[in-house]
């Protein structure tokens, strides 16, 4: 028995190492985290509305009385703009990394304006590129420095009751998430030649479809 004590002490030490490696490794190894689940349903730099109070929601514990819109942003090639209205004090917009860490948050209670326009810029590109983005809003635009190239923007819009759901969804539908337009004439021409505006799509039952009328959004 005495000969086993060193093994016992070694196993406690090794268990500690395994514990630490597991805890630190889970975020990088998880295949069912929010980013992975939403990636299966969406494309980058496009806003999606999730159905309110839907069975088999793509994420667990989604509030049934909140309308969610999300955009997986990818800043690898272009900055990304997000435009939305904040319907009332309880609305909020959160920008987070792919592991859920919020680096920007604004609620309707603290916003000084109803319309919000965010320009997401990676820290590495901040100095040289933000001045070249085309913005009709000028100083109204808020520059959000992203520590990551990819992440998720989530707009949460609490719904007062079923009769308010259509209005809430309609307002959410006016939100946009898209690559920023630079002052390059060729890019500007390409953007203006696009026939369809960047309309939020609606996710139903694990598939994504283009939005039709607000009334069809809520199930």
């Amino acid at each position: 028995m005495r000969a086993f004590w060193p093994w016992l002490l070694a196993s406690v030490f090794c268990a500690g190492v395994i514990h630490a490696l597991t805890v630190f490794g889970v975020p990088f190894l998880a295949t069912r985290d929010a980013w992975s689940r939403l990636s299966a349903l969406s494309e980058a730099n496009q806003l999606y509305l999730l159905p309110i109070a839907a069975p088999d929601a793509p994420l667990p514990f989604m509030a049934p009385d909140i309308a969610y819109a999300f955009c997986r942003f990818d800043l690898t090639t272009r900055n990304v703009t997000l435009q939305t209205e904040l319907g009332d004090a309880s609305w909020s917009i959160a920008v987070s990394g792919r592991y859920g860490e919020n680096f920007y948050f604004m609620s309707g209670a603290e916003a000084k304006r109803r319309e919000l326009r965010l320009l997401l810029v990676p820290r590495a590109r901040l100095s040289e590129e933000t001045s070249t983005e085309r913005s009709e809003e000028g100083d109204e635009q808020i520059i959000v420095i992203s520590p990551h190239m990819t992440g998720i923007v989530v707009i949460r819009a609490p719904v007062r009751g079923p009769s308010f759901a259509d209005d809430t969804v309609r307002l959410l539908q006016s939100a946009k998430c898209q690559p920023a337009i630079e002052q390059d004439p060729n890019l500007l021409a390409a953007e203006e030649a696009k026939p369809e505006p960047n309309v939020p799509a609606v996710i139903r039952g694990g598939t994504k479809r283009p939005a039709r009328s607000p009334r069809t959004q809520v199930q």
Binding site: L21, D33, A53, A57, F61, A63, I66, G100
Partner: protein, 192 residues
């Protein structure tokens, strides 16, 4: 041979202790990262840039999109106020007082975090549709059979999870002083 047996015991013990303790802490937390207030538990660092590794692992495993605690608090309960597991077979009364937040809601889920289908299509009550009774409380009845007032249908054969969300709660300083947790709703078990 003896050394081989010792080594196998060492390897087994290391794996069981290491993985088991990691699983337990990620699943249930401990007081420092996931304090309990009555039946409610909150992962206080969720969504924070400086979140601890246990919280990060928890968020990744759960697949959640958290809001940091300065801007929103999420409390989860799987038991009543006396620590008994919530089940769909029993009636419960949730007794709340208006909470200090811009908006709050209590929603019911199964143990996987999905809504429980019901004919009333009712899954939650919030600060905007709950009435305040003359004694200053707001009461929700939870159970399989319809009840007067604010009734949340619990369906059948499910382990239940209640989620309380507060948007724009008290300041971080007030939260640290425990003020945000003083008046969290009580969950009282009724008949089964």
């Amino acid at each position: 041979m003896k050394n081989l047996i010792h080594f196998l015991c060492f390897a087994m013990l290391s794996l069981v202790l290491g993985l088991g303790s990691a699983y337990y802490v990620i699943e249930h937390g401990f007081a420092f990262v996931a304090p309990n207030t009555g039946p409610w538990k909150t992962w206080i660092n969720a969504g924070s840039l400086t979140a601890d590794p246990y919280t990060r692992a928890r968020i990744a495993r759960l697949g959640d999109l958290p809001v940091n605690s300065a801007n929103g608090l999420t409390f989860v309960s799987t038991t009543d106020s006396l620590g008994r597991k919530l089940t769909a077979e029993c009636q419960y009364e949730i007794v709340a007082r208006p909470l200090a937040a811009v908006w709050w809601s209590i929603a019911l889920f199964d143990s996987d975090g999905q809504l429980i289908p019901n004919k009333a299509d009712r899954h939650a009550f919030n600060s905007q549709n709950l009435t305040v009774l003359p004694d200053g409380t707001q009461r929700i009845t939870l159970g399989p059979e319809a009840r007067p007032g604010h009734w949340l249908p619990s369906g059948n054969h499910h382990d239940l999870t209640l989620v309380l969300r507060l948007i724009r709660p008290l300041s971080i300083e007030q939260q640290r002083q425990g003020l945000a947790f003083q008046s969290l709703p009580a969950i009282q078990k009724g008949s089964c």
